[in-house]
């Protein structure tokens, strides 16, 4: 979603007459949007087929009179269309089964169902990012549980308009980045293209590799008071929300599983399946990878990028994962460079190549335009297609449609006048009361453009006079749009259904059989009666969209049919993902190491309350050397470690189970909570125990659930390496002969080896037995030797560790480290050996990074 701020202006006028007539149609810039061939929606009471549309045998037509009676005092607002009620106040047939079902529930049951949806969203990790003045935060996904229902027959008509529009935009893109005849022949004013920041000159004359500029588009649409659908804005740059639409569907189906099962709701999976096939067909070579290209974890829709990549089984890549070699885009993986053939781009075009586009971009891939010139990679959608989103273009589309397609525009745009020409300017000034005036180059709908648009009716008289001046001086940069009142749809507010303004985002994908429209969409519902509050940042919510047929619908799953089953190994792991997994392992283990020492420290502090006693002092000094301050019961650096782990994990959300992600988030939240109130001593000991248990929970999830492939190996190596370093450093520090009383027992406790020591050695704790158990015991999972053995075993399985009888430098080093310590006797272990080993481990980490993680 792209809802960073609240629009300041309300787009509502008190009245919303049909758009002005086409007195200006002779000019180059006229937008007459209303009286088109687009048929009226099934709005009137007589238009829709009476009777139970999809009741699955249930008596749907029975008057709604049950426990809740949710529709009893539902009244549509005057002069505004409503999705559920027709103009006579009757419930539309398609809504009746749902309303009847709601009527059979009591409040407790409904609350239960809503909670089911919320639980799903929480567990799946769906959230949205709120932008505050000081801090951005993740908020629970605001699902409006009641779906928006649209009858199949109405949807079919709408779909034809959407398909036509997608095709029109494709033809416009081909012209703008090709011969540019639309300007030369007077269909588009040149300043609208030449002055447009979305017009990317380096892309002119580069035809797309597969012949198509557009593959996936979305359209923000709304229903006007006359019942007709209007396009509020076209989304072609990097349309978002399709993944959220899927999540809304799953969550809503959880809440209303019985109703969903009985209603003939079109499924969404086949739409994504067809699109996946299109992308696969776009590869030039069988070896080519397909990837979703994301701007990175800081992007507000990053979750969706990860979700889509996982759902469709594509790699999730960032610009720095890619490099261009001899005109071919390659991904850096742990097994070397691999070719990429298709990039589903969620990155804005201008950031794609710092050499030729925005030179300040740090998230692009230098040289990627060269690959486009060589036609070795397909971008979905082509770079530069963002220009099609330009608000002022809406004014010219009817005429361009007639010119390019030889047809009338089926789905009208919201009435738009570009103020770069005199007649249009005068019209906008004269009809100011009904207008919203905004930037011509804006790519957002007027109710969601960061308050850049001004509502004519909201202006004082003095301001109105200056508007005329503004239009005269800056007309080229301005458009006037007629305000439409969006239709309302029921939302569940305070125990009943209330009509709330809504808009829909609908999707079209290019498939083998032409454009296909997703049978559903992403609904946005205002938090008040004003459409300005439709964005999530302004408190709006999201809703599922059910396209309801009166016949049973096809059910397709994205899983392949059984006969076509092939087992494939996971694709090559991108180096950046491997790097994040490796560091996730290290940070997690670093946190665990700190927790174990702190727990032992606070356990002893609880007995003496004297941090100056020699034993505690010694550990305090040790901890200070690794940046842990024992004066803080829950030290900041511990928090920082867990935050770093979380950050590493957030970079690879597509490779993470929702469970693992939740466990890690829970850990982070708990540390934060403890930090606020935990006291030194017993309280801290207890807190550390809780945290260790949660950490073990995360480790368990990884151990039990993560597929044993390259990614898991890097995570494991990170953990073993950090644990080995931790134990080496600790034992080295404590290996002097004159350590304070109790040091050895404390070491055993930190190494979780008190019981083992008791069982294995029939003597008191002495330096030699501790060294034997914590450094050299191959069976103790906390000993140094154990870590080295595991590292060696994992490295052996990494790509190219062992080729043609030769060990790679990384493998050789892992072998050397392990065998060196394996043949060392307890007596030979001294401080110098620990120091050497610590350096060796650091060096090994460097070689590993150089080989696989760069």
């Amino acid at each position: 979603m792209s809802d960073p701020m609240t629009p300041k202006a309300s787009p509502h006028a008190t009245d919303a007459p049909p758009p002005a007539d086409s007195a200006l149609a002779g000019g180059k810039a006229s937008a007459k949007a209303a009286q088109t061939a687009f048929p009226a929606a099934a709005a009137g009471a007589g238009a829709a087929k009476p009777g139970p549309a999809a009741a699955g045998g249930k008596p749907a037509e029975k008057p709604v009179a049950a426990k809740l009676d949710p529709g009893a005092d539902y009244k549509s607002l005057p002069g505004i269309a409503d999705e559920m009620m027709d103009t006579t106040g009757a419930v539309r047939p398609v809504w009746r089964p749902l309303l009847a079902a709601l009527g059979r529930m009591d409040e407790a049951e409904l609350a239960n169902r809503f909670a089911r949806a919320d639980r799903y969203l929480r567990d799946a990790g769906v959230f949205y990012r709120a932008y505050g003045s000081t801090e951005n935060s993740e908020r629970a996904w605001p699902l409006s549980y009641i779906p928006i229902l649209i009858a199949d027959n109405e949807w079919q008509v709408l779909s034809r308009g959407i398909v036509q529009r997608a095709e029109l935009l494709e033809r416009m893109a081909a012209d703008l980045y090709g011969e540019n005849r639309l300007v030369a022949e007077g269909f588009l004013p040149p300043s609208l293209v030449a002055g447009n920041p979305e017009f990317l000159r380096p892309m002119v004359g580069i035809p797309p590799a597969d012949g198509h500029y557009l593959h996936f588009c979305s359209f923000e649409i709304g229903r006007g008071p006359d019942g007709n659908w209007w396009v509020l804005s076209d989304r072609t740059e990097a349309p978002s929300g399709a993944g959220f639409a899927l999540e809304n569907r799953v969550a809503t189906a959880r809440a209303f599983s019985d109703i969903y099962a009985e209603t003939h709701v079109h499924r969404l999976a086949s739409f994504f399946g067809s699109f996946r096939e299109t992308l696969q067909a776009g590869k030039r070579h069988p070896d080519d990878r397909i990837a979703v290209l994301t701007p990175g974890v800081a992007n507000e829709t990053y979750f969706e990028h990860a979700y889509i990549a996982r759902y469709l089984g594509f790699m999730l890549l960032e610009g720095e994962d890619l490099t261009v070699v001899e005109g071919k885009v390659m991904v850096r993986t742990v097994a070397g460079l691999k070719p990429v053939g298709v990039l589903w781009r969620r990155l804005d075009s201008v950031f794609a190549d710092p050499l030729e586009l925005n030179q300040r971009s740090h998230i692009g891939t230098p040289g990627i335009l060269e690959a486009l010139r060589d036609q070795t990679v397909t971008f979905v959608n082509a770079l530069g297609t963002g220009i099609l989103e330009t608000r002022a273009l809406l004014a010219f589309m009817p005429r361009i449609c007639r010119h390019l397609l030889g047809e009338e525009l089926l789905l009208p745009s919201i009435a738009t006048w570009w103020c770069g020409q005199q007649p249009e300017r005068q019209h906008v000034a004269a009809e100011l009361e009904k207008m919203v005036i905004g930037p011509a180059y804006s790519t957002r709908p007027f109710f969601d453009d960061n308050g850049q648009s001004v509502l004519g009716a909201s202006l004082r008289d003095t301001a109105k006079a200056s508007i005329a001046e503004w239009l005269a001086s800056d007309g080229v940069k301005l458009v006037g749009q007629e305000v439409v009142k969006l239709s309302t749809t029921p939302a569940w507010v305070n125990g009943k259904l209330i009509p709330r303004p809504m808009s829909l985002r609908v999707y079209a994908a290019r498939t083998r059989d032409g454009w296909q429209v997703m049978p559903g969409g992403f609904g946005r519902i205002s938090s008040g009666e004003d459409a300005a509050a439709i964005t999530m940042q302004a408190g709006g919510s999201a809703a599922d969209v059910w396209i309801v047929s009166d016949k049973p619908v096809e059910r397709i799953s994205l899983l392949p049919p059984e006969e076509s089953f092939i087992r494939t190994m996971p694709g090559s792991l991108p180096s950046r993902a491997a790097d994040n997994l490796f560091w996730l392992g290290r940070y997690i283990e670093r946190a665990e190491g700190a927790l174990r020492i702190l727990r032992a420290w606070h356990g002893r502090y609880a007995e003496s309350a004297d941090s100056s006693m020699p034993l505690l002092k010694m550990f305090t000094d040790y901890l200070a050397a690794v940046d842990i301050d024992t004066r803080q019961p829950v030290p900041d650096s511990l928090m920082a470690n867990i935050d770093s782990a979380l950050f590493s994990a957030s970079n690879i959300r597509d490779r993470f189970s929702a469970d693992g992600w939740l466990a890690l988030n829970d850990l982070s939240k708990t540390v934060r909570m403890f930090q606020a109130h935990v006291q030194a001593g017993d309280d801290a000991t207890h807190a550390m125990t809780v945290l260790l248990r949660k950490l073990a929970g995360f480790a368990g999830l990884v151990h039990e659930n993560m597929y044993r492939f390259t990614g898991w190996r890097f995570l494991s190596i990170g953990r073993y390496l950090e644990r080995g370093m931790h134990m080496t450093r600790l034992l080295g520090h404590m290996s002097e002969p004159d350590v304070p009383d109790g040091t050895l027992d404390m070491l055993l406790e930190i190494g979780d080896s008190v019981m083992t020591h008791r069982r294995r050695y029939n003597v008191n704790t002495v330096q030699l037995t501790v060294t034997d158990l914590l450094a050299l015991d191959p069976l103790n999972p906390r000993s140094i030797l154990y870590q080295l053995n595991e590292i060696r075993a994992q490295v052996e399985e990494l790509p190219e560790a062992y080729t043609k009888g030769h060990m790679s430098p990384v493998y050789r080093e892992a072998m050397r480290l392990h065998s060196g310590l394996a043949v060392t006797t307890t007596e030979a272990v001294d401080r110098a050996l620990y120091t050497r080993l610590e350096n060796d481990l650091e060096r090994f980490s460097g070689i590993l990074a150089q080989t696989y993680l760069n």
């Binding site: 540019n180 300007v183 030369a184 022949e185 007077g186 040149p190 300043s191 293209v193 030449a194 002055g195 920041p197 000159r201 380096p202 002119v204 701007p295 990175g296 974890v297 800081a298 992007n299 960032e318 720095e320 490099t323 001899e326 950031f351 710092p354 050499l355 030729e356 925005n358 030179q359 300040r360 740090h362 998230i363 230098p366 040289g367 060269e370 010139r373 080229v476 940069k477 950046r576 790097d579 994040n580 560091w583 770093s644 950050f647 590493s648 970079n651 993680l853 760069n854």
Partner: protein, 335 residues
Amino acid sequence: MDAKGIDEAFSTRMSPDEPGRTNPRAPAGPIDGRALKQSTMLYDITLRITYRYEVPVSGGRHVIRAMPLSIPGRQRLIAGSLTATPLPDERYDRQDFFGNAVTGLLLRKTHEKLVLRMQSRVVVESQTETVDLSPPLALLGADLDAVWSMTADSPHHFLGTSPRLGEDAAIAAYAREGVEADMSVLQIARRLCSAIHTDFTYDPKATTVDSTPRDAFKIKRGVCQDFAHVMIVALRALGIPAGYVSGFLRTLPPPGKERLEGADAMHAWVRVWCGPTLGWIELDPTNDMAAGSDHIVVAYGRDYSDVAPVIGVLKSYGSHETHQAVDVIPVKIGG
């Protein structure tokens, strides 16, 4: 938008060359803002740009715009070559949207030093004095409305804002000073050219290659890049299409001194669209003159970002040093 991983590596945008920063004013002919009749000139031009890296680098990519253009009636490139040391692993040569010659290089192997060397021989035609056939400012809008074109020379590309040039109220007010209703577009442009020359002090230390026109306008100091940027913003504020020209300028040694090798520098000036009859006219605010046969054009663009001589991206852990040497040597024609 910008998310950094744990990886310490960072990309460095190599600061592109800084035109004019080593070379104050140019030839100082007795030219007071008018194009004089000048003779056809033949030049041998060399440019050497040297990068020295503190820490050896690899995988650097560079896009170079340094080769003089061939422009019918203006100048002709007779021969030219652009080479790099070490030898690049990949190279392409093509034209960009505005018709400029672009060379792309990729250096995969580790290196501590990169030398780019451009050599060319160029004929620059003599320029006749411009007769002012430009329309009054009030009529320019109608002329613009009549141009339905998106070609590289279309004035529509050179209005409004561009990557490096936003709108600026202070510069717009400066542009409007002394503009009378009946003044022609060329008159206005020449006035601005002179005004900037008079009001601004040439000072290579006052600005950097990343300075905005506003920065330079505030202190009324800068180099040719700043003067050109300020003049473009001013012209566009009046609705006059204006673009950035990067190129070379022949300079004369101080009286009585030998010409020093490599003492010239890359230069920048402005071109102004003066209506359909006159078309594009080039003016040099640094020297308050029309660009004549001492000005050799390398690239046209909307602002510096379109024509930067070198745009480079590489991974680096250290800083780097740049050195630029230019020689514009007139060759005698026919003795």
